[in-house]
């Protein structure tokens, strides 16, 4: 088998066994990027030091020194996460030449596990979008059909894993930005519990919703990455001190007796027929695996998108105030300070970002706080309460990740609301802070991947990953690759 067909855990095993050199591994993926990324545009920048690092790891292995648990494994990082000394743009002209002098906590952790960051992946500007079309560096193309979007905002990470330009990647998820592109690209993507992975070094979109998570082909790979990136970080006040349950060791525990809830009122008009069929098929698989399927209700989930589109823009309008042309790279000239501010922010931000800043600024402006942010935060409490109630009866909640498979580039360009509704099934987990995973469960007739979402109790990522892994033990969708030049199996 070629390297592109191997899962990360197998690659690590081979590296450890001395069957594979880190330099060869890194070179292999750099070559694939070189060959294919012009068509996919998954990367914003490629590391200039990856081979050097791989060389050092090979040396250490040779000398019998201990190495980290991911030693030599190439990994791609969403460009909204700071890597010291490497350009970190968040997909924005505003940060085109920004080079952070520090590592995000998860980058620090990956580095100390000796993983090798091979590049930074494309994304919707400041993670605002569901298609990766809102990137200053051009759209990313879906490896399954290049005229379609890979989803977003972590579209670059999803596309690079789907086309195996990197074995695994890291994304971030504010309203579905890991799960929706994972679904569109036929890979596995986990949004962890709010607070279980440090946000330190993640360029903020909406701080109370943002979470970093793994984007991989299999649940097992996600579990492996979680074992490295999750855990308390004293530099993030919202980081949880609770011990994260070990995700790896319980993966093989069968699902007998697990209770999975299905919320039927989410299977509504907006849901694509093919998607519904595949979700129902997958539900049967879970039944066969020993799960008990129960109907549940989430009465307030229909308001999730509305609440989300108040809370996220409000926080974003404040989080993005720092891009004022004073400290970070881009400045458009102006005769006085005010003019410089307005020109910088007018020219440095893309349209969608400006639109959301406008919405958030409006919703927080004098006299509107109660009607918007406060009310949305109260609805948010109701949504969380719904989950708390549901998780009294079930252990997991199952449903579609997205209403449709990947749409075409430009399809929703003039209709923001249609684009926002791509997040209809994913935003609730961000609002409630609970973990959720998307796993591939089939394809549409025209060969586009379809994803299923599992949501779990806070800090029970292990249950999510176990269920996903058990599902992948008996299905092949995660192993299916696009029939494109970058197909993996030969």
């Amino acid at each position: 088998m070629t390297l592109s067909a191997l899962n990360a855990d197998v690659i690590v095993d081979q590296l450890n066994a001395g069957e594979l050199k880190a330099t060869d591994c890194v070179q292999y993926f750099l070559d694939r990027i070189q060959t294919h990324d012009a068509e996919i545009n998954a990367f914003v920048s490629i590391s200039q030091t990856a081979l050097e690092q791989a060389e050092a790891i090979d040396q250490r292995r040779k000398a019998g020194q201990t190495v980290g648990c991911l030693a030599g494994l190439p990994i791609a990082i969403k460009d909204g996460i700071c890597v010291s000394g490497q350009p970190t743009t968040a997909g924005s002209k505003m940060l085109e030449k920004f080079t952070p002098p520090y590592d995000a906590t998860i980058v620090e952790r990956l580095k100390s596990a000796d993983a090798i960051i091979i590049g930074k992946t494309n994304m919707d500007e400041f993670a605002m979008g569901s298609s990766t079309e809102n990137s200053f560096f051009g759209p990313t193309h879906n490896p399954w059909a290049t005229d379609r979007v890979p989803g977003g905002s972590s579209g670059g990470s999803a596309a690079c894993v789907a086309s195996r330009l990197a074995p695994v990647a890291i994304g971030s998820d504010t309203g579905g930005s890991i799960r929706q592109p994972a679904s569109f690209c036929g890979i596995t993507g986990l949004k962890p519990t709010y607070g279980s992975v440090s946000r330190y070094g993640l360029i903020a979109f909406a701080s109370s919703l943002d979470q970093i998570g793994p984007m991989t082909r299999t649940a097992k790979e996600s579990a492996l990455l979680m074992s490295v990136i999750a855990g308390f970080d004293p530099r993030d006040s919202t980081s949880s001190k609770a011990q994260i349950t070990d995700c790896l060791s319980g993966l093989e525990t069968p699902l007998n007796g697990i209770r999975i809830g299905v919320c039927r009122n989410q299977f509504n008009d907006g849901l694509d027929q093919e998607v519904e069929t595949k979700i129902n098929d997958a539900t049967s698989v879970f039944k066969l695996l020993g799960a008990e399927i129960k109907e549940i209700e989430l009465p307030h989930s229909q308001y999730a998108v509305a609440a989300y589109y108040v809370i996220a823009p409000c926080e974003a309008s404040s989080n993005l105030a720092r891009y004022d042309g004073v400290r970070y790279t881009f400045r458009a000239p102006g005769n006085d300070l005010e003019e410089m501010y307005r020109n910088t922010r007018g020219q440095g931000f893309g349209n969608e970002v400006k639109q959301r800043i406008m919405l958030g600024t409006y919703a927080l402006s004098s006299g509107y706080y109660e009607a918007y942010y406060l009310k949305a935060s109260k609805v948010r409490r109701m949504i969380k309460q719904d989950y708390d109630d549901a998780f009294q009866k079930v252990d997991l909640i199952l449903g579609p990740t997205t209403p449709t498979p990947a749409f075409k580039l430009g399809e929703h360009a003039e209709d923001p609301l249609a684009m926002y509704l791509a997040d209809v099934y994913t935003v609730s987990a961000n609002l409630a802070g609970i973990p959720a995973i998307s796993v591939p469960v089939g394809q549409s007739k025209n060969g586009l991947p379809i994803g299923l979402q599992l949501q779990g109790r806070a800090f029970e990522e292990n249950t999510l990953l176990r269920a996903a892994h058990q599902f992948q033990n008996v299905t092949l969708w995660h192993d299916t690759s696009p029939s494109q030049p970058w197909r993996t199996q030969t």
């Binding site: 949880s240 509305a306 108040v310 970070y328 349209n351 406008m358 919405l359 409490r381």
Partner: protein
Amino acid sequence: MAGTPEQTTVNQVAKLARIHLNEQQIESSAEKLAQILGYIGQLDEVELPEDVTPFFGAIESVNAIRDDQLQASVPRKEILDNAPDSDGEFYLVPPVF
């Protein structure tokens, strides 16, 4: 200020957000703002219990506190390197007025 009430609002908000918009952008922004605000309006339908407390996101409410201890600052050069304009000591910005 000419234009629809929405455009007037957009103008005011753009000022508050320090974002320059041209006329066409104002028009399109007003349209989109009206659309999304219309959608958000459904929040008014939600029957909220009177004692409901807002949920602001963090799942735990354990105090996150650090001791009053010094940590090394970042060297000035590294900090100023990202600035569009500096004299090596200060950030430089156009005059306030």
